[in-house]
């Protein structure tokens, strides 16, 4: 929890400045959503909702999106992640990857639904092909690295 604000600042800087060279076809991993997922594992659903809301507001401010778009998505995803964290806990990399993939894709789906409601329907196929699917894959891969790498190193250290 004490890492939340430094984590948020790190996400802001990484997403706005540092991830440019790592973008694949213009797509970057959604570090804000990963932060929400990671923090939500350690706090109550109420706190996760509020932290998700705060993260989302910052993401909206740094983006061209209407203020509230990602705040809505991130607070909902924070609540769900915290609520389901005990039932869905896994340390298996593949399962973790699929969970992150599903979560990010769901967040993309919610964003698409809100954009459709407020700004009119964006073309569905390009949205799935160019934004939701690659973003989910990239975010899940990066999330897996962040979560699993320390565990992998611990296993190696024990083996040594």
């Amino acid at each position: 929890m004490r890492w939340f604000l430094p984590g948020l600042l790190a996400c802001v800087l990484a997403q706005a400045v540092l991830l440019g060279p790592l973008s694949l076809g213009g797509i970057r991993p959604d570090l804000f959503l990963l932060l929400v997922f990671l923090v939500s594992q350690r706090v109550s659903p109420e706190a996760a909702t509020l932290l998700g809301f705060m993260v989302g507001l910052f993401q909206d401010a740094l983006s061209g999106s209407p203020l509230g778009l990602r705040a809505f998505t991130d607070s909902l995803m924070g609540f769900l992640a915290a609520r389901l964290s005990h039932d869905m806990y896994t340390d298996k990399p593949l399962a973790l990857f699929w969970l992150l993939l599903g979560g990010t894709a769901a967040a993309g789906g919610i964003t698409l639904a809100l954009l459709t409601f407020f700004l009119g329907p964006p073309p569905l196929f390009p949205a799935l092909l160019w934004v939701i699917a690659p973003e989910a894959l990239y975010t899940a891969a990066v999330g897996l690295l962040i979560v699993w790498l320390p565990q992998f190193r611990a296993v190696l250290a024990r083996a040594a």
């Binding site: 440019g20 507001l57 993401q59 401010a61 607070s75 073309p123």
Partner: protein
Amino acid sequence: MSAILRLLARYRRATILTTTLVVSFLLMTLQVRHETAVVSFTRQVLLFTVSPFIKVTAATVRGVSNTWRDYVDLRGLQEENTRLQRETAILKRRIDQLEEQALETQRLQALLAMRQASRAEFLTARVVGKDATNWFKTVLLDRGSLEGVRRNQPVVVPDGLVGRVVEVTPTSAKVQLLTDPVNAVGGLIQRTRVTGIVSGNLGAGARVRYLPLMADVVGGDQVVTSGMGGVFPKGIPIGRITAVERRSGALFQEATLQPAVDLSRLEEVLILTTLEANAGREAGTSLGAGAGFEAGNGRRP
């Protein structure tokens, strides 16, 4: 009253979730037609909080990458190398630096030439950040209202149009790029003088919409700003048509457009801070204020 408070405390989880979702929804609703003071203030406070960190990080990244490049250049050198080899390496590095400086000078000269050629006033700015989502295409500049940047000011580079300022804090400004899905700019096919609306899409590039069905538009046609709307001066290159789509039964034809500017590699840009009315008409060039439809689709702040 106390009964309500007790009820809220009992269902605290649902209350907090519902409140955050409703507040988010309300914030979005307030922006559908036009931006309210509350939304604008919130947005500016959030952006103002992080923009100094972003500027410092961008400057640090530039410094570190330059140092790293120097380090990589120097790493291969060993003391056993002959003096000639050392000199060659040093000279190569100098050439690299000079080439980099020459490229920067070229870019800045082009910006300066553009500035001198037109009668508008420009402000040079550096790109320090990119959009935090993959849904929109915006960049953050290191100039803000303290230097005279205002909303809706056009942003250009010598190659053509970049976008327009949509958000300003005292020290930074957010620019909606030409390729942003909710951006809309009045475009003019230079060869046939047909007008359309240029907007971004979720993939790469942009599209020209609302082209009359019988209009003569072919691949390779140059598209420039139409000047209608008074936001963008007339005649700024937007891009080239790459393909034209005519769907049966449609009232208009559409075309895909390759922007004239590589928007993924922006470093320095010019913000048009003031546009002299009628400058283009008098000078026979492209600058001038018009009237009509432009500057976004009206559904976004």
